[in-house]
């Protein structure tokens, strides 16, 4: 087994016992990126020199007997919407093609402080708008399980690089499912934490009240380890919650006896692939066998989540993306006057999906429509939140498929935006309610991974980890790897 295939906790053991140096590890990942990425295209920026320098620094520290922490020396990568000082942060947009932030996101700082090695920046849907990574202006990220299929989105690069061992772990961002759905499509573990658990400072905003950063990892334990490093209150983010951050690994016990799991029936409506439903049903049986109490339940406003989400998210986006005007940074189209410059810069700098969402959001906020669309959506958001509150009076977690289908083919949905939006039905309610949810590998359909989503109360990430960990310990889906033989062979030629 190649070293790059190992989990973070395994790598930590190797580093601690000096069986491998961080430099060796970093080189191994860079080699893997060089051979796998020509086909997979997960990376937008590869930081070979910087990563090796960071690794060398780490190796000096460990040689001097310094405490390395649980993530020290571990090579990882960030979605390209998280700011990295001195390193291009493009959001996969022509608009920010040449943008080099003069500051670090809080997560960037925290992972650096934890001693991790930054391998590079990962592909995504432009400004995190999309469910397939097809909206990237720069690269076509492929699903390592089937190169004809999308990796999911918008954190496609983050999921693929973990699945294909191009990074030990990555961070993604999730506004309506953008961590969980690609994690499900690529067979990795993806956590969307409670809104306010991880600082958004330095995360280029898509929809401020919904965005949340989280880890994509090979195992549940790895996920908890990364959460330990990135979560917790941040004074630079006014929406960051001052809560007492637990040690998330404390929840990793192989025992779910007596836990109550609700199965919201609305998540199994039309549009859910019957094989996916069957796969999840098998997963539910496993949990029952392990002692969980499972019951069908109802979240009656689920069908309203998609329109509510798309109105709120696009409204916020229309405002968040106003600053891309060609004055202070990023792309500028030359024009005779400022108005012309604004209009042309934005017409040429943004891709079609971004423009579509800006149009929708601007409309939802515009005079005469605010009440009917934006305000209405916010009220419906309250109803959706109340559905969850009620369900959590009875259940510890709620369980559903992460996505209605396995990964789809390129171009299959991109022609019809509404159809693409509808595929987010299982993930967006969670963002509207601000609660945490995790996607874990739960089987395969036609050789493609499927994900099981566990949703919990606000700040109950620990409970999600407990169930996810128990499920993982009693299944072997997470140990299965995509066959990258041909990909690597091509890349190495």
């Amino acid at each position: 087994m190649s070293v790059v295939e190992k989990s973070v906790s395994e790598l930590h053991e190797l580093l601690v016992h000096r069986d491998v140096s961080s430099t060796e590890l970093t080189k191994a990942y860079i080699d893997r990126i060089h051979s796998a990425d020509p086909d997979l295209q997960a990376y937008l920026t590869i930081l070979e020199d910087q990563a090796l320098a960071q690794a060398a620094e780490f190796d000096r520290k460990i040689a001097q007997g310094e405490d390395i922490g649980t993530l020290g020396g571990i090579p990882m990568a960030l979605k390209d919407n998280m700011c990295t000082e001195g390193v291009r942060t493009s959001c996969a947009s022509k608009m920010l093609d040449n943008f080099i932030p003069p500051y670090n996101a809080t997560v960037t700082d925290r992972l650096r402080a934890a001693g991790t090695i930054l391998l590079g920046k990962l592909n995504m849907d432009e400004f995190a708008m999309g469910s397939s990574t097809e909206n990237s202006n720069f690269a076509k990220t492929r699903n390592p399980w089937n190169l004809e299929c999308v990796p999911g989105g918008s954190s496609g690069g983050s999921a693929v690089s973990v699945a294909a061992d191009e990074a030990a772990f990555t961070l993604g961002s999730d506004t309506g499912g953008s961590i969980r759905q690609p994690a499900a499509f690529c067979g990795v573990v993806g956590m969307k934490p409670t809104y306010g658990a991880v600082s958004r400072f330095g995360l280029v905003a898509y929809a401020s009240s919904l965005d949340q950063i989280g880890p994509l990892t090979k195992t549940v334990r790895d996920n908890a380890l990364v959460m330990n490093a990135i979560a917790g209150h941040d004074l630079k983010d006014s929406t960051s919650v001052p809560y007492e951050k637990p040690d998330y690994t404390k929840f990793l016990v192989n025992d779910i006896k007596g836990l109550k799991i609700g199965i919201p029936r609305e998540y199994y409506g039309e549009g859910i692939d019957s094989d996916v439903a069957k796969g999840i049903q098998a997963g539910i049986q496993t949990l029952i066998d392990l002692g969980a109490e499972v019951e069908e339940c109802s979240l009656p406003h689920t069908e309203y989540a998609i329109p509510s989400y798309y109105l709120i998210a696009t409204a916020e986006a229309s405002s968040n993306l106003a600053r891309y005007d060609g004055v202070r940074y990023g792309y500028r189209a030359e024009a005779a006057d400022v108005l012309g410059m604004f209009k042309t810069t934005r017409a040429k700098g943004f891709g079609p999906e971004v423009k579509r969402r800006i149009m929708l959001g601007t409309y939802a906020l515009s005079s005469g429509y605010y009440d009917a669309y934006y305000l209405k959506a916010q009220k419906v958001r309250t109803l959706i939140k109340q559905d969850f509150d009620k369900a959590f009076e009875k259940y510890d977690v709620l369980l559903s498929p992460t996505a209605p289908t396995p990964a789809f083919k390129f171009g299959e949905k991109s022609a019809n935006p509404l159809a693409m939006y509808l595929s987010d039905v299982t993930t967006v309610p969670v963002n509207l309610a601000g609660i945490p949810a995790i996607s874990i590998p739960a089987g395969f359909v036609n050789g493609l991974p499927i994900g099981m989503q566990l949703m919990g109360k606000a700040f109950a990430e620990g409970t999600l980890y407990r169930i996810a960990y128990t499920f993982e310990q009693n299944t072997n889906y997470h140990t299965l790897k995509p066959n990258l033989g041909e990909v690597l062979a091509r890349g190495n030629r």
Partner: protein, 482 residues
């Protein structure tokens, strides 16, 4: 105001005032005026992708303080909203402001014009961020081929104070503004340095036929930065609107700009250009919950406000005019009050402060706050007059000496030997010699010409270089001649 006996003016004002915090509203950059362009900026106030605002507590404190001083209701629940519009001086292409739930609700203040008191309502006051500054290549925005942007001011905290359309004449408008600025200065919510743009005025004005009860169509002229601009702008705009109405046309509801050089207003935004600000709650900032304790804590820090202060000074015997002059600025009023704690004759004190002290300060272009003569020193000088140590006339020259040297009055009097000669023996000798030298005057006096004694006193004062105690001289001279 009645314009050509036909129209009445209706005016309301929006006043933007920079709050006197050390740092900007949402980041730690300094608010200091006059730095090199784009040196008081950071990722947050430059609106770089990914940055987030964190509200400065002091901005809220100042807003509450101003609100209390302006008799406003302080909202228990308040929030920020985004006002969306594109302009190169806005780093995010939206302004973080407050829309439907401002921190200060209804309030107002009393003005006095020609002895008539009138209440001017305040609709609301809200917190928001300032924009950057545009510098145009040409003379004006319209003749430029390009513009340069300095974001030092972007993010400086503002309080926007919106009045009711309660003002009916230019003097009322000016009285309101003077009163408002005075209160903001007194409460130290703002330094109100108009020459630095820390107070700016938007003027809403309309005309209506005399006797009408509904309002006419108004125009809004933005960004005036002095009282005199407001006055001239109103004079121009009222005359212009009257001409439009006289011609049987309608005033166009629009935003206008003031051309200071030409003294005219011009259309700024054409009507067809939409301004649909798409306000919505700022998702990056948590709302404010302001409890009684917070409000009362700030109320305790409120100084005596100008109206109360004027009343108190009038109670001490000052005329309304004098009380008004003394309280026109907080520095002057504070100077007066400090001196008053050492010297109790308010009337005399007022005469000196408004007279010689002000004259000295003005001729040296010095502010009261920076006066080299402290309030206590002035009080001591006045004590010397009352005790008869020096005459009022000598005191004036001592004051000048105090100004240039910073020394106490007593020391100057001593060093220069300026104390009055109140020694009868010494004075009698001088009196005798003056009587001997001026027999004609003595004769005149004895013949009943009272004026002659004045001449003799003058001669004695001259001989003593003004140091003789004039009362005593008078008394002794009369005794000698009788």
């Amino acid at each position: 105001m009645v314009i050509a006996d036909k129209y009445e003016m209706v005016c309301g004002l929006e006043v933007h005032v920079e709050l006197q915090t050390k740092t900007k509203i949402f980041c730690g950059c300094t608010t200091e005026f006059g730095g090199e362009q784009n040196t008081h900026v950071c990722p947050v106030c430059l609106g770089l992708p990914g940055t987030l605002p964190v509200l400065n507590r002091e901005v809220v404190n100042y807003a509450i303080k101003a609100g209390l001083a302006l008799n406003c209701e302080i909202a228990e629940f308040s929030k920020f909203d985004r006002k969306n519009y594109f302009y190169p001086d806005l780093t995010k292409d939206y302004q973080t402001s407050q829309f439907d739930l401002p921190i200060c609700g209804k309030g107002g203040l009393e003005i006095e014009v020609d002895g008539e008191k009138k209440w001017i309502g305040i609709t609301r006051a809200h917190m928001e961020e300032d924009a950057g500054k545009l510098v145009h290549s040409g003379e004006t925005i319209t003749t430029s081929y390009e513009s340069s942007v300095d974001y030092n001011r972007a993010g400086v905290p503002l309080l926007e104070i919106v009045s009711e359309p309660d003002m009916r004449s230019i003097p009322e408008v000016l009285a309101y503004l003077e009163q408002l600025v005075q209160i903001l200065e007194y409460t130290e919510v703002s330094d109100c340095r108009m020459e630095q743009g820390s107070v700016r005025f938007d003027v809403n004005v309309s005309l209506r036929p005399i006797g009408a009860t509904t309002f006419g169509i108004r125009t809004e002229t933005k960004n005036l930065n002095s009282f005199s601009s407001v006055r001239r702008c109103l004079e121009y705009e009222v005359a212009r609107q009257a001409r439009v109405l006289d011609a049987g046309e309608n005033v166009v509801q629009e935003t206008r700009t003031w051309d200071e050089g030409k003294g005219i207003t011009l259309t700024l935004r054409s009507k067809e250009e939409a301004h649909d600000y798409r306000y919505f709650p700022e998702p990056d900032l948590a709302p404010l919950v302001i409890d009684q304790e917070w409000v009362e804590g700030i109320r305790k820090t409120l100084p005596e406000l100008p109206v109360a202060r004027r009343a108190r000074l009038q109670g001490l015997g000052l005329s309304a005019y004098d009380a008004g002059v003394i309280t026109s600025g907080k520095a002057m009023a504070d100077y007066f009050d400090t001196a008053l704690s050492y010297y109790s004759d308010a009337k005399t004190l007022a005469n000196w402060v408004m007279g010689d002290v002000t004259r000295l300060l003005n001729s040296n272009q010095c502010s009261v706050a920076d006066s080299p003569i402290s309030a206590k020193q002035l009080a001591e000088l006045l004590e010397l007059i009352d005790k008869g140590t020096i005459s009022g006339k000598i005191a004036k020259s001592v004051l000048e000496e105090m100004y240039s040297t910073g020394k106490d009055a007593k020391i100057i009097v001593k060093e220069k030997g300026l104390a009055q000669i109140s020694d009868e023996g010494a004075l009698l000798g001088i009196i005798d010699s003056i009587i001997a030298a001026n027999p004609q005057s003595v004769e005149d006096y004895r013949a009943g010409k009272d004026r002659a004694i004045g001449f003799l006193v003058g001669q004695i004062m001259k001989a003593t270089k003004g140091q003789a105690n004039p009362g005593l001289v008078n008394q002794l001279l009369k005794q000698k001649l009788s």
